[in-house]
Symmetry: C2
Subunit: 219 residues, 2 copies
DNA sequence: AAATTTATTTAGACAAATCTAAAAATTGCT
DNA sequence: AGCAATTTTTAGATTTGTCTAAATAAATTT
């Protein structure tokens, strides 16, 4: 099955919205896609006929198994392109989304699977969101702020929130980049600063402001 | 200005068609785009209003300066993606076109210019067609068959026509690939075989059949 | 529980891109 | 030049995705 750009955008929007409430409403979708409620209703009828979602008038929508598959496929494409833009073309984190929004609708399966391979099967996009693999499975490991890590737990840096040159400077100095494995050893309640160990290097100190901007996954 | 996918396809088709005759006709365009003449006329009216081409009923079409710019931009995107697919994602020459046909319509200027840089500012796509640079200029160096090279001239391999495993085998054996610099030293009239020198390696012999499939540009 | 507000759907219209069928212009032929 | 064949255009319809305005259903308030 092949879907139009519009259909894919609606499916993606519903997928994201139902993460929270378990379902999505007309107004929510209209708002998410900057369109009008009437347009949403029209599209929902179409997607229901195509069996991509469950929908009874006035009851909100829930993606079907098939719809979920489509959503994960679009999200896979989107996040792989984001990773490509960031990693290979040096886009900053705030620039990748808009372009990926277009690239995600190029639906050649071979293209995406080869791209995935070329990028080394990345598990997270530049925002730290998981990238579904070729079967639609993704790492459920939650990405949390370094600040929220428990003491004596190991983690891998998966993304950095802020993207200023200042933060890059301090990260470079402390030898921290995406993929760095580290362990939180101690937290000082006075200023919420952390002591962190990276491999066999001596322990380093990370301020609260910095820790809040470093996102990690459990190792 | 931003143009629809349809508009871009029509402009690209006219650009290609007017390479030959200097202008394009309704039927030619309809044929090229697998659409009907009536649809072409409709679109031509639209593109005329947008000043992308010159058109008087029954007189055929010619791109305006502005239309030419748009065409070169689309072609630049198409060929850069083809190069990417071939070079980075290991697509074969006959697979790249279809996917590039979709990718070419993602029109972020930053994306394309960064991609160009990432690829090392390639001058030719995998088919040997020149890639317009950021200003729409492209190497006019004609790509010619190695067979047609004059004696004692230097050349760079820009593409291989045939794409069978057999030709790849012999090329690999003789150490020839895209980008290889070589010099034609001698031609034997008997069988039209060539003697070619690659760098400081000993001279090798290339048959007429092989030379016809190797396309080069003057160095 | 009735009234009001909010959310959703329906009805009808519109723009883009396409099509078929018919009309008009151009070209080619004798 | 006149007629036939071809090419191109026009007219009117269709599909997709959108919109506004009005109608209806659901939720909230009093």
């Amino acid at each position: 099955m092949n879907f139009s750009i519009s259909e894919e955008n609606y499916i993606k929007a519903i997928f994201h919205l139902q993460q929270q409430d378990g379902f999505a409403t007309t107004n929510e979708v209209a708002n998410e896609l900057s369109t009008k409620p009437a347009s949403v209703t029209d599209m929902m009828k179409k997607l229901k006929v195509k069996k991509l979602l469950h929908y009874e008038p006035y009851q909100g929508f829930r993606l079907s198994t098939e719809g979920n598959k489509v959503a994960l496929d679009v999200i896979r494409r989107h996040r792989l392109w984001e990773y490509f833009l960031s990693e290979k073309l040096n886009f900053t984190w705030d620039e990748v989304h808009e372009v990926a929004e277009d690239l995600e609708h190029v639906s050649s399966k071979k293209l995406i699977d080869r791209l995935d391979e070329f990028l080394g099967f990345p598990k997270f996009d530049p925002h730290g969101d998981p990238i579904p693999d070729i079967n639609g499975n993704f790492t459920v490991t939650r990405v949390i702020s370094l600040q929220d890590m428990a003491i004596n737990t190991k983690a891998v840096v998966s993304n950095i929130k802020d993207q200023s040159t200042e933060i890059l400077e301090v990260l470079q100095h402390k030898n921290i980049c995406i993929g760095t494995r580290l362990e939180v050893k101690k937290r000082f309640g006075f200023d919420n600063s952390l002591e962190v160990k990276i491999g066999r290097q001596p322990v380093i100190t990370i301020s609260e402001q910095l820790a809040k901007n470093i996102f990690v996954t459990h190792d």
